[in-house]
């Protein structure tokens, strides 16, 4: 029933992490390729530390902006527990790309709830594939925590139905227009994310082999 030629990508995280910007750049890449694109998120109170989920759908023609549970091609989680919260949106056997950094909300600090002890294992137990690495650490090593979303875009680069260069070009274009001094650093962050994701994928394979 759903148009099978539509690609569904769900990007999730916490307000302030750049989830919406990352999805916007992804959308720009899809637009550059001539796709019809729709993007939506629930962001009303996102600035107040709430959950942000950004839905991106592209293909020849997109109707509903929302990805239905069980149909996402790719889930990109900017935070570990958020990966677990949203993984049921993936189609069976779908892939999660995860930043392993954990952002603990006040309700957990107050002892009202527990942070899931091992989100990665839980996601695997549900039958999804997962490539996880610490994007926050990579961003910090490059000198700016705000590079985290570009690192995550780099991780996505080889899992999209178009070449990685198209995505990198969308990033470069955006920064050239807004913050030209940040272009080079973002290119580095993109490559670092790409490399880290490959290593995570490889580690996973050797572990299961």
């Amino acid at each position: 029933m759903p148009e099978s030629n539509v690609t569904n990508i769900l990007v999730v995280g916490i307000g302030g992490q750049g989830v919406m910007t990352a999805t916007e750049i992804l959308a720009e890449a899809a637009i550059a390729l001539g796709h019809d694109v729709k993007k939506t998120e629930v962001a009303g109170m996102a600035q107040r530390g709430g959950v942000v989920s950004s839905h991106l759908r592209f293909g020849p023609k997109v109707l509903s902006p929302q990805i239905m549970p069980g149909t996402a091609d790719l889930l990109v989680a900017f935070e570990a527990a958020e990966g677990l919260r949203w993984c049921h949106y993936l189609k069976p056997g779908g892939l999660v790309l995860m930043n392993t950094a954990q952002i603990v909300p006040p309700v957990v600090d107050l002892g009202l709830y527990d942070y899931p002890p091992d989100p990665i294992a839980e996601i695997r137990a549900k039958g999804y594939r997962i490539h996880a690495f610490d994007a926050m650490k990579i961003a910090l090593e490059l000198g700016d925590v705000r590079l985290g979303n570009t690192v995550m875009l780099g991780a996505m680069a080889d899992h999209l139905p178009f070449p990685a260069d198209v995505l990198l070009e969308a990033i470069v274009k955006r920064f050239r227009a807004r913050k030209p001094q940040m272009v080079e650093l973002n290119q580095k962050a993109f490559e670092a994310g790409r490399t880290a994701e490959k290593a995570a994928a490889h580690a996973k394979e050797t572990e299961t082999a």
């Binding site: 107040r48 530390g49 109707l63 929302q66 993984c87 839980e122």
Partner: protein, 616 residues
């Protein structure tokens, strides 16, 4: 690689409306910020050809737009659904006068409650006020319908309501846009008291004209290209859908016939009757209320609707498909993996928010009842403060506090009544409530939390900011003088720094004892606006932290528990110790958490050490 066409832009519904308002030659636009409508005016304010403003409330915003339309210019006003409750007083008379220049009123219904105190269906305003309602289904339509709405408004001399929902306002899609065309002023304001002065006699003469207009509008809806039939091969069910539900229906049932309502009020009953005859079963898919469904049933057209579909929330494919499968006697779509149980992540106040200290203080005071208000203040109802007892609507904390005072029974005899309100909400609707408390000699302590912005929607300016919509300097209201002018005694007005906990605590403790109205104004900017100045961060000295957890009670999201331990007190009671750290990368050094820390374990962060980030 084909380059994307420059006249196709990737716009949210709000951005698309703003673009269309500009292209339509609109002259005046006004709004009060409110999710999910805020971005319409934010974008419009970037067009120099349009006078734009943040008004103090939606009623004033609508009045400004009405005035401009009376003067023959095109005008626009935007609000969220609850805003129309405020503006409706003007609306219900506007419908009698009508307009000269085109007037479009965009109302954003927060279907799904992303950040609102209720879920309401603004199409009812169309019916209540006898006004046409247009309902776009995506950004392209939001753009096109806004342009059509200006033309239609002038043609019928009637304001047009553009009903949007969160999934239109905040969805981005590709929009083919045009260019701005200057629209001439339609001859200036023409004196015509019989039309513009709605005395009872004047209004009485205009009502029959409104009924005449109803007939014309109904005829227009029947033939409008905005209401179109799309045939489909599978005629077992046919759908009537409007707004985002149209896209969801097309996605879920690509082969079914659909009558798409873009001009949904008045309901084009005959067009739907004809369509209904071509399908086995008719299903009306409408988000929130069964408004069209009831009209169809009243007209004798058999249909399904809310018997199958929820009356609350969005009608996305995951809701539609199982509901319709049931009707068709088909098995429900395959069972999907259930969501994992993960802790909730409710919105929290920002790190170093000036309200943290206020709610922390309130949570320490016993025997009080606190009426709360809309905005970031509502977050005070959450953990760890649990400091609000009521929240109804914007500005309502004032009147409700007075009611709690006057209506108190024996059980509440000794309770102190407090009302909390923000600067923007106070100017929006709170002033009159305070005046009422003063006038009627209420015993209420009012906390007016002035953070110089509309915080919840992203820090937009208000008359307390000293800035206008463009960020330009503007006169700044003096709250102490204002409340004094409303009749609060000078000695009962205190301006305090909300980061000085002992001062704040003392002011509240003293004022609640005095059996008359007091106003305590806190005066520190919202951390989201430029006026907020960060200071050097703090850190926790592990060796000194006793695990008392006092600092956690402040509720700053930069404070995290690293370790919990059970300990036995000398009294034999078991307590849980919570050892903390501060996320130095986000701490702004506001100093709030330092104050309840008895062993002085929180100290300025050592700049030689690398900053700590989240747990890895």
């Amino acid at each position: 690689m084909p380059a994307s066409n420059p006249s196709r832009l990737f716009l949210s519904g709000n951005e698309a409306v703003a673009r269309a308002v500009w292209e339509s030659g609109c002259k005046v636009a006004a709004a009060y910020p409110g999710t999910p409508s805020t971005e319409m005016l934010e974008v419009i304010s970037t067009y120099p050809e349009i006078y734009s403003e943040w008004s103090v409330n939606e009623k004033v915003a609508l009045e400004v737009a009405i005035g401009a339309a009376f003067a023959g210019s095109r005008a626009f006003c935007a609000m969220k659904h609850v805003g129309m409750n405020v503006a409706s007083d003007a609306l219900m008379t506007l419908t009698l006068t009508g307009v000269i220049g085109g007037l479009v009123i965009a109302i954003a219904d927060d279907v799904g409650l992303s950040s609102s105190q209720n879920e309401q269906d603004s199409r009812f305003w169309g019916r209540f006020a006898h006004l046409p309602v247009f309902e776009p289904a995506d950004s392209q339509e939001a753009y096109e319908m806004t342009k059509l709405a200006f033309d239609f408004s002038e043609q019928h001399q009637v304001p047009v309501i553009l009903r949007m929902t969160t999934r239109i306002n905040h969805v981005k899609g590709l929009v083919s846009v045009g260019t701005r065309a200057e629209h001439p002023n339609l001859g200036g304001f023409k004196k015509d008291p019989a039309r513009w002065v709605m005395t009872p006699a004047g209004a009485g003469r205009r009502i029959p004209l409104m009924f005449e207009r109803d007939v014309a509008l109904a005829a227009a809806a029947e033939v409008s290209p905005l209401n179109s039939v799309e045939s489909g091969r599978d005629r077992r069910v046919g759908f009537v859908a409007s707004g985002p539900t149209y896209m969801h229906v097309k996605e879920s049932f690509p082969d079914a016939p659909v009558l798409k309502l873009g001009f949904s009020c008045p309901v084009p009953v005959e067009k739907i009757r004809t369509f209904a005859a071509t399908v086995d079963k008719l299903i009306v898919v409408e988000e929130v209320e069964p408004l069209v469904e009831k009209e169809l049933k009243a007209a004798g057209i058999a249909c399904h609707g809310k018997d199958l579909l929820p009356k609350q929330g969005e009608l996305a494919p995951n809701v539609l498909r199982p509901a319709i499968a049931k009707l068709l006697g088909e098995p429900a779509p395959e069972h999907l993996a259930p969501p994992a149980p993960v802790f909730p992540r409710p919105p929290t106040m920002c790190v170093a928010c000036p309200h943290l200290g206020v709610y922390y203080t309130l949570s320490q005071i016993k025997n009080i009842t606190i009426s709360g208000d809309i905005g970031c203040y509502t977050l005070g109802a959450g953990h760890p403060w649990n400091a609000l007892d009521t929240t109804i609507s914007m500005g309502a904390s004032m009147g409700i506090a007075l009611g709690l005072d006057k209506g108190r029974g024996e059980a509440d005899k000794d309770k102190r009544i407090l009302a909390v309100i923000g600067d923007s909400t106070f100017l929006h609707m709170g002033m009159q409530g305070l005046l009422d408390i003063v006038y009627n000699r209420g015993n209420v302590t009012v906390l007016l939390l002035d953070n110089r912005a509309v915080g919840m929607t992203g820090g937009q300016p208000d008359p307390g900011s000293g800035r206008d919509i463009h960020g330009e300097p503007a006169p700044r209201v003096d709250f102490a003088k204002l409340v004094e002018a409303l009749g609060v005694k000078k000695e009962r007005i205190h301006v305090v720094d909300p980061y000085q906990l002992p001062v704040l605590f003392k002011a509240i403790r003293e004022e609640i004892k005095i059996p008359e109205v007091s106003v305590i104004i806190t005066d520190q900017p919202c951390v989201l606006i430029d006026d907020y100045k960060k200071q050097k961060p703090y850190e926790v000295l592990d060796a000194k932290c006793t695990g008392c957890g006092n600092c956690i009670e402040v509720g700053c999201p930069a404070i995290h528990v690293v370790r919990r331990e059970k300990a036995i007190k000398p009294s034999g009671k078991e307590v849980e110790l919570q050892f903390v750290r501060i996320e130095t990368s986000v701490c702004t050094g506001c100093g709030l958490c330092v104050q309840p820390c008895a062993p002085d374990a929180i100290v300025p962060a050592d700049p030689s050490k690398p900053i700590r980030l989240v747990k890895h």
